[in-house]
């Protein structure tokens, strides 16, 4: 674009010459620009203070002055040193990348937007360059030639911008021949930023609430119970079955923990109604907890220490109530924590027993150590052993596809159980293309604390590859329902679909189970669990 002050000096020919190309500069010389829609609002001081986190203050990423503490550089470099010594993975990931480029085009943010710093290799380089410049001899001597650079305030801004444009989905890691886990690099970047008080409110407020009250929104026990009353009324209204679950009941066999969005947010509530109906039908000896009332753990997006602090309540509550084992609901990152961190952070849970399904007798050996079973493992086992009466015809108006939520798929490998359940409770199931599902699944672009409304543009951009695959099965097979097993997915994919494929709505797996489940004493079902008409009338022939 011509310089405005000189525009009157330009001739007509020059005016029409527009350079469509962005300026070519080295990535180190391209500072970030904080534009609305591309960053998350900063953590409020009161939340950082409550959690005892350092440097609480009022500031904005869009400000020139971030009000960093005077010794910000020492804080970061000492923080890096401490973590390089403490976490071998961090040191290894800093050292072993050969820049082969296998990860470069695997990030949904790069695919959807084209910003090179969203290539996982370059995202890691944002921090690796500082590591080289300050912690390696070659980097100190050769500087830029070795990919090293010094630490400046612009680097901090760049970290904030790009480490909060990573959903820690780990798709890139699937393709890395060295197994570098870029999510862990992002986690380190965020930990270091947190030392400066540079966190985001969408993460830190839920963390503070969770730490104080037990769940992300700070829903207190009486309000939580009221919320369940609403769900139970709706279930009775739609099925004729009255359900009376218990809360904080000592001596129950099983503790059930699920993300709080399941009981307060659409469309998660329908999944929650599914759990309630299933457990009631089985006569399961289980209890909810108003203390361990959050499966989600936004500590995962803050620091290792915070993961541990928030996760501790699950085992503490299991111990207090004297249950034998734990079932966990449909959540994404919660399962990364349960599967990869809980055992070593807060275990061993030797006061619990190895989980055995009281209905089928199946021993969940995979959960021998954590004592926590994923709800889809539990339900798939019930179906496999013919313990449920199901009428998949009740889901016939739905044409379904399944989004593998990143963490259950890549962090714990649950790929078959959800599909097995879906195929047993529905008649119309269509897979999305191979390179967009299972281990290669595309992220919803709202995970790891990015799912807030002020990030809408970035979410729509990063969610484009996911939505593109949904659109494909929508156009080809008339798919109108996107199933997933993650609370963040249920919230963010709903919005993503509204932008890219408005005819497709989002659902959890146990919502589909709820529709198909034939319950003892139920009235004739004329509506689904959402209260919408069941288009196809059920027939006895359909009952499995």
């Amino acid at each position: 674009m011509p310089n405005e002050s000189k525009s009157d000096e330009l001739k007509q020919d020059e005016l029409v010459k527009i350079d469509y190309k962005p300026p070519k500069k080295d990535w180190m010389d391209t500072p970030v620009h904080f534009r609305h829609g591309t960053y998350i609002y900063p953590a409020k001081a009161k939340n950082l203070t409550y959690l005892g986190l350092p440097n609480p203050r009022e500031w904005s990423p869009a400000d020139e002055d971030w009000k960093l503490p005077d010794n910000w550089k020492d804080i970061i470099l000492n923080g890096m040193k401490e973590r390089l010594d403490k976490y071998r993975s961090f040191k290894v990931f800093m050292d072993i990348c050969v820049r082969c480029g296998a990860c470069a085009d695997k990030c949904h943010f790069f695919i959807g937007g084209g910003d090179p710093k969203n290539m996982p290799v370059l995202r890691a380089e944002l921090i690796r360059s500082v590591y080289k410049g300050n912690f390696t001899a070659a980097g100190k001597i050769l500087g830029r030639l070795n990919g090293a650079r010094g630490l400046t305030k612009d680097v901090i801004k760049e970290w904030f911008y790009y480490f909060y444009q990573c959903t820690e989905c780990r798709r890139c890691s699937v393709f890395c021949p060295y197994g570098i886990d870029t999510a862990e690099i992002t986690m380190m970047g965020r930990e270091l930023l947190t030392l400066l008080g540079c966190n985001v409110n969408w993460v830190i407020e839920p963390v503070a609430n969770c730490y104080r009250t037990g769940n992300h929104l700070g829903i207190q026990p009486h309000a939580l119970k009221d919320m369940f009353e609403m769900l139970l009324d709706d279930i009775q209204d739609r099925t004729g079955v009255k359900i009376e679950p218990t809360f904080n009941r000592k001596g129950a066999e099983i503790l059930f923990v699920t993300p709080s969005a399941d009981y307060f947010a659409d469309p998660g509530i329908y999944t929650c109604m599914g759990y309630l109906m299933l457990f009631h039908e089985l006569g399961l000896d289980y209890t909810w907890s108003t203390y361990a009332s959050e499966g989600g753990n936004f500590g995962l997006f803050t620091s290792h220490e915070m993961i541990k602090r928030l996760n501790a309540k699950i085992y503490a509550e299991a111990k207090r109530l004297g249950v034998k084992w734990i079932i966990g609901g449909e959540c994404g990152h919660m399962w990364r924590v349960m599967h990869q961190y809980m055992d070593t952070m807060n275990g061993p849970a030797d006061f619990l027993e190895e989980p055995v399904s009281p209905i089928t007798g199946t021993r969940f050996e995979n959960a021998k150590s954590t004592k926590m079973v994923h709800i889809t493992e539990f339900t798939a086992d019930l179906i496999k052993n013919n313990k449920l009466k199901l009428d998949p015809g009740r889901n016939d108006k739905l044409r379904i596809t399944f989004h593998d939520s990143c963490n259950p798929a890549r962090a714990m490998g649950i790929l078959e159980e959800p599909r097995y359940i879906i195929k047993n409770v529905c008649n119309n199931f269509f897979e999305m293309p191979e390179n967009t599902i299972r281990e290669q699944t595309f992220c919803c672009a709202g995970g790891a604390g990015l799912g807030t409304d002020e990030m809408m543009e970035i979410r729509m951009r990063g969610g484009m590859p996911r939505a593109n695959a949904v659109k494909h099965v929508h156009d080809k097979h008339g798919v109108n329902r996107l199933t997933c097993m993650c609370a963040i997915d249920r919230a963010t994919l709903s919005t993503l679909m509204e932008y890219w494929v408005p005819d497709v709505k989002v659902t959890g797996i146990h919502e589909l189970v709820a529709n198909a489940l034939v319950m003892k004493g139920e009235k004739e079902r004329v509506v689904d669990i959402r209260g919408e008409a069941l288009k196809e009338k059920k027939g006895e022939d359909n009952v499995r």
């Binding site: 469509y20 470069a104 609403m230 967009t436 593109n468 695959a469 932008y499």
Partner: protein, 186 residues
Amino acid sequence: MKLINILSEKKEIVLKKWFDKIAASYPVNAPSFLKNQKNQFANPVGYTIEETIEAVLDVLINEGTDKKAQEFLDRFVQVRAVQDFTPSRAVDFLFMLKQLMKDELKDELQEKGMYEEFLLMESRIDRMVLASFESYLKYREKIYELRVNEFKNMAFRLLERANLTFEFKDDDPAFEKDVSDSDNVK
């Protein structure tokens, strides 16, 4: 020879150059990815660019309806609207085609009557630009609508779940009364 015939002959080269120009509007590293990764799911943006420019050129060459071109343009602008572009940059890719035609068909445009044909085609492209801008605004408004909706839904659901609101149900007796009343009026 008519302009559309010449354009038809040069279709491949125009498409290739147009694609390259659009790809070059993305930051360094992205152009080669957009160009080389041919899988439509691994590279949905590149695929959309290809689909769109082919459709636009087809419409111009085969004198198809603007509506057909607009469907594709709308889809591509939907993508550009969430990428890191200013409004003008988001829809400037059609101007690239005009410039490209001037460059590629320089000699042909000197022939008798050809420039008039070009002016007509240029007007048509201008109309497509305007339609693209409508799409751009539609999608930018959509982004803000989605923001508001997320916020409203969360606030409303929380109030509802905490039993702090009262909502009329469809089967509320009050509605039945209203219906019978209105029947009487008729």
